[in-house]
């Protein structure tokens, strides 16, 4: 892709243009107050993306601290929080216990619920799309902004507002329903105010999700640079596009579900209440109709990042571009049909059979992607900077996570594994080993473009290994706990499980240490990292054509696509030399994709 000045610089820009879009977007606007105000009212997708990035990472941090608290409690088979406090999170929630609201067991249950709810609703669902997607989708399309910039800002404030509800619920001792809010427990357990707040939080966050998704779909349709056809799009865009479809179509259902739940909670309208003739299983159907597709909202953007990083760091055209693109759409489509696999133990045989079958169907496009990724490495020129390390780790961990989805999808084995630690291990392998790992890959990959600085490769490798080893210690053990019979959401357990639980807890400490290393590496980069070149990894997608720190309106001139996103064999990357990224000899004829 080259930037060509096609004289498209619009005449109407002149009216309110003071040349500010040639300034890097991070340049402060006057004094500190003016700058803060500028960020708060910005419609620039890049700033919104950055604000989202810090917000979701903050939520990840909170969720992570809660997780470490869970793991500490699980060091011992019996409850250890009898009055004595274990860390900050327990202290916070135990305040409620002193007030007589929560009894001993419910402290753990609250932390468990908040961990799940924060991680899912406030971290991982908005996660990649709203932060990296917001920043890079328009850049990769060669656009000046998303289609509806004000809606984008609205989405950010709605997210803040929703999270505020969630956090205030937490500060009021939180909820103990599990992140799944199953009725009739969630409508009868005590803590009216907190539960209502949490329900509202999820309801409100849904709007944020819908706004973002809608914005991205329209942007992809209408704001592609000249010459950028659908099959010239980077796969990250395809992934975000498929994600957005799910967000737009599934989120309204959780909206209406939580509306019903809210009224059930406030006025006992009885729709989910067996006492009044309602049907608690109906709630489960509604809940999973959203929450299954949402697991693909979590993983598809991650897969998009992996596609980018694998191609760039092995300097190869992605193997089977179209297969990967279409499999994203296939996953998005089929994901709406499999929700019942979370409820094999509470539904009839026919439904169970259908859902089990469809579950296997959705695994196929995912398998296709994995094969394509591995094939991409073939005959490449592979380098191992942090983004690539994480991409490879993704292939490793996500394969485990995905393959352990199979015994959960099969009926007879799920009857045993359902609601056991096997499920816990499965979803951490896909959500953490998949999404979080890919997120880390993406953060490091795009860090230079976002902040104009490089990070320390050595130390971030240290962080990588700590995270990788810690993660496996924490969660691989849990597969065995699950098969041996450890149910999930248990604050105490029988003695036989102690050893595996302890290994898991020690692992979580290594994991936490890894994150602290990463945190310091990135903070250090922000203040003292060397200035980043325009295109440090030699990538070919459009975001690398702008300045090291993109200017306000992204590009100095409207870019035009002149080559595919992965034509590493034919094109010298913008801002790079052929010494850095040598091309293979020209004579061979390539088959077009």
């Amino acid at each position: 892709m080259t930037t060509v000045d096609r004289g498209l610089d619009h005449a109407h820009d002149g009216a309110h243009d003071h040349g500010h879009h040639d300034v890097p977007y991070l340049t402060p606007k006057g004094g500190p107050i003016a700058t803060v105000w500028d960020w708060m009212t910005t419609v620039d997708h890049k700033k919104i993306g950055v604000m989202y990035l810090f917000a979701v990472l903050f939520m990840f941090f909170i969720g992570g601290v809660l997780a470490l608290a869970l793991r500490i409690e699980l060091l011992e088979p019996t409850r250890v929080v009898d009055g004595e406090l274990q860390g900050a999170a327990f202290a916070m929630l135990a305040g409620g216990e002193a007030a007589g609201v929560a009894s001993v067991g419910s402290v753990y249950n609250r932390i468990m619920t908040l961990h799940g709810a924060v991680m899912v609703f406030m971290f991982i669902v908005p996660g990649i799309p709203a932060s990296l997607g917001n920043f890079f989708l328009p850049l990769q399309l060669g656009a000046k902004d998303v289609a509806f910039p004000k809606l984008n800002l609205t989405s950010w404030y709605v997210y803040l507002f929703g999270s505020l509800f969630g956090v205030s619920s937490m500060l009021m001792t939180g909820v103990d329903t599990g992140w799944t809010f199953y009725t009739p427990y969630s409508t009868t357990t005590d803590g009216q105010a907190q539960i209502v707040l949490m329900i509202l939080a999820v309801f409100i966050l849904g709007f944020s999700s819908i706004f973002t998704g809608l914005n991205f779909i329209v942007t992809t349709h209408k704001l592609r640079a000249p010459g950028l056809g659908w099959f010239d799009l980077p796969l990250f865009i395809w992934a975000i596009y498929a994600t957005s479809i799910i967000q737009v179509l599934a989120t309204p259902v959780i909206g209406v579900t939580f509306l019903l739940l809210l009224f059930e909670r406030l006025f006992q309208i009885g729709i989910f209440d067996p006492g009044l003739g309602g049907d608690p299983v109906l709630f489960q159907h509604f809940f999973w109709f959203y929450s299954h597709p949402v697991v693909y909202v979590m993983i598809l953007p991650a897969m998009g990042i992996i596609s980018e990083v694998l191609a760039v760091f092995s300097r190869k055209k992605l193997f089977g571009y179209r297969a990967i693109a279409f499999s994203s759409l296939a996953i998005a489509g089929v994901s709406f049909l499999v929700w019942g696999h979370h409820m094999f133990t509470s539904q009839g045989e026919l439904a169970a059979m259908i859902f089990s079958f469809l579950t296997f169907l959705v695994a196929i496009p995912t398998a296709v992607k994995v094969f394509n990724w591995i094939a991409t490495l073939y005959k490449g020129s592979i380098s191992f900077q942090t983004p690539m390390m994480y991409a490879l780790a993704f292939l490793f961990l996500f394969s485990i996570g995905g393959l352990t989805g199979l015994p959960l999808g099969a009926l007879s084995t799920d009857l045993h594994l359902h609601d056991s630690y096997f499920v816990v291990a499965h979803f951490h392998y896909v959500m953490f080993g998949g999404t979080v790992i890919a997120f880390l890959s993406g953060i490091h990959y795009w860090w230079p473009k976002m902040f104009g600085r490089m990070y320390d490769e050595r130390w971030s490798h240290v962080g990588f290994w700590l995270v990788f080893v810690g993660f496996n210690l924490t969660f691989f053990t849990q597969f065995f706990l699950g098969t041996q019979g450890m149910p999930r959401r248990y604050v105490s357990y029988i003695d036989e499980f102690t050893l595996l639980h302890q290994i898991s807890t020690y692992g979580s400490w290594i994991l936490g240490l890894g994150f602290i290393v990463h945190l310091f590496v990135l903070l250090h980069s922000l203040v003292a990292g060397p200035k980043a070149p325009q295109n440090p990894w030699g990538a070919l997608t459009m975001e690398w054509e702008t300045d090291p720190i993109p200017v306000e309106h992204n590009f100095r001139h409207e870019p035009v696509a002149t080559h595919g996103p992965y034509d590493f064999e034919d094109v010298v990357p913008p801002g790079c030399t052929e010494e850095q990224f040598p091309l293979p000899p020209k004579e061979e004829v390539r088959t077009a994709h």
Binding site: P280, K316, A367, S381, L392, L403, P584, R590, T591
Partner: protein, 412 residues
């Protein structure tokens, strides 16, 4: 030769995954579940090793060397792509049918099953046998007493499960299946227990006692019961033990009542306390829990959440005031909420016999250092006769105890 090795490995794996199974012979009865699990495991291992092997190999072979360009290669290969779509599909179809088949088998009702009514409530399991009997036995697990339920060996058993409150889930990991227990309908959990094989390390011997019954050196095998659907504070303590015994032992056991009617009431109360789930929320050692402790509670003034109270004056005026408070709290637990506690208890209306109710009152009373002057009250003379062996006539006491209603009215 190679199959022997495979069987050996499988055996090892089964032990690793499911630990309780002594051998793969045992697991063969669970082909629908463990067998499939192993199959999926091998499929997973195959693809994982294949893919990761390729990944590491490519990473090594094609690692970047400065100044060296990547080789040209096709980014598309129809034959390859079709292969890696179709092969997994076929494997997945096999897994699906295998799983579905095993599932149907596990759902199939077996004929002539021992029927047991199973009730789940926050946070305990209760089982009532077809003759109305129940188990009063518990084992200590951590800081709670888990109920023990008896079932016959080598026979089909069917549980008719229902819940008193929220959704629970009945899971015996050793049986590889679980089923949700719903508040608005019965769900069937069925299994056929393995016979008590002599070589099985899980089979042990003990003296089984129940009421007046003592069975010396009876063989048994225990299985854990867990509640697998999150149900609140003590979800993790909603555990039990399923004890498999010889059918003949089971028959005798079932037909013996859990306690004799002439047992001292506070001992009956203690049994009920453990067997009917009181112990989940109420401690008897003064420690705090979901509900108020029973230690030194009886006979003391109580303040309620709505600001009312059971005052010393009330207690002085009515010797049965505390008894009535207990009775009401068992039958209509939401009416008087102890200050500082949540309205968390489910009603026990209809689930305790008169004997059990009286027993509980006596038991709570026995735990207290404050008791009304017993000499003046015939009812307690009766109780004391049983507990302390005092020589006081008991016939008038029976009448009084059977009619608590007038006292309740008096308290009005």
């Amino acid at each position: 030769m190679s199959t022997v090795t495979l069987a050996g490995i499988n055996d090892l794996l089964i032990r690793l995954f499911f630990r309780d199974n002594a051998s793969s012979e045992v697991a063969s009865g669970l082909a629908g579940s463990d067998g499939l699990y192993l199959f999926i495991w091998w499929v997973g291992v195959f693809f994982f090793v294949l893919l990761m092997g390729l990944m590491f190999w490519f990473c090594w072979k094609y690692r970047r060397r400065p100044g060296v360009a990547p080789e040209r290669s096709s980014s598309h290969n129809t034959a390859l792509e079709i292969t890696w779509s179709v092969v997994p599909t076929l494997i997945l179809v096999v897994i699906f049918f295998w799983g579905f088949d095993g599932y149907l088998r596990s759902q199939m009702p077996a004929g002539h099953a021992e029927q047991i009514d199973t009730t789940a409530l926050m946070w305990n399991w209760e089982m009532t046998y077809d003759n109305g009997g129940f188990s009063a036995e518990t084992v200590t697990m951590g800081n709670k007493d888990a109920p023990v339920f008896y079932v016959p060996a080598g026979q089909p058993v069917q549980l008719r499960m229902s819940s008193k409150d929220v959704i629970h889930s009945f899971w015996v990991p050793d049986f590889r299946t679980k089923l949700d227990v719903m508040p608005n309908r019965y769900t069937p959990y069925q299994f056929t227990t393995e016979p008590l094989a002599s070589g099985d390390p899980r089979v042990k011997t003990m003296d089984i006692t129940k009421g007046e019954l003592v069975l010396k050196d009876a063989q048994y095998r225990d299985h854990w019961i867990f509640c697998a659907e999150y149900c609140g504070d003590s979800h993790s303590e909603m555990v039990g033990v399923l004890r498999v015994v010889e059918p003949s032992v089971f028959k005798t056991w079932k037909e013996t009542p859990a306690y004799g009617v002439i047992d001292p009431p506070d001992e009956v109360g203690e049994i009920v306390y453990k067997a009917k789930g009181c112990a989940v929320c109420h401690s008897v050692d003064g420690s705090n829990n979901t509900g108020p402790t029973w230690l030194n509670a009886y006979g003391k003034p109580v303040r309620f959440a709505d600001g009312t109270e059971l005052s010393q004056a009330d207690l002085d005026a009515d010797p049965f005031a505390w008894d009535n408070y207990i009775r009401e709290s068992i039958i209509l637990p939401h009416v008087k909420i102890h200050e500082g506690y949540a309205n968390a208890m489910a009603s026990y209306d209809g689930r305790l016999s008169d004997v059990e109710m009286r027993g509980l009152i006596a038991y709570i009373r026995s735990l207290s250092d404050t008791k009304p002057d017993t000499d003046e009250i015939p009812l307690y003379d009766f109780l004391n006769e049983q507990t302390e062996g005092e020589e006081v006539g008991g016939d008038t006491a029976e009448e009084t105890a059977d009619e608590p209603a007038p006292a309740a009215e008096g308290e009005g």
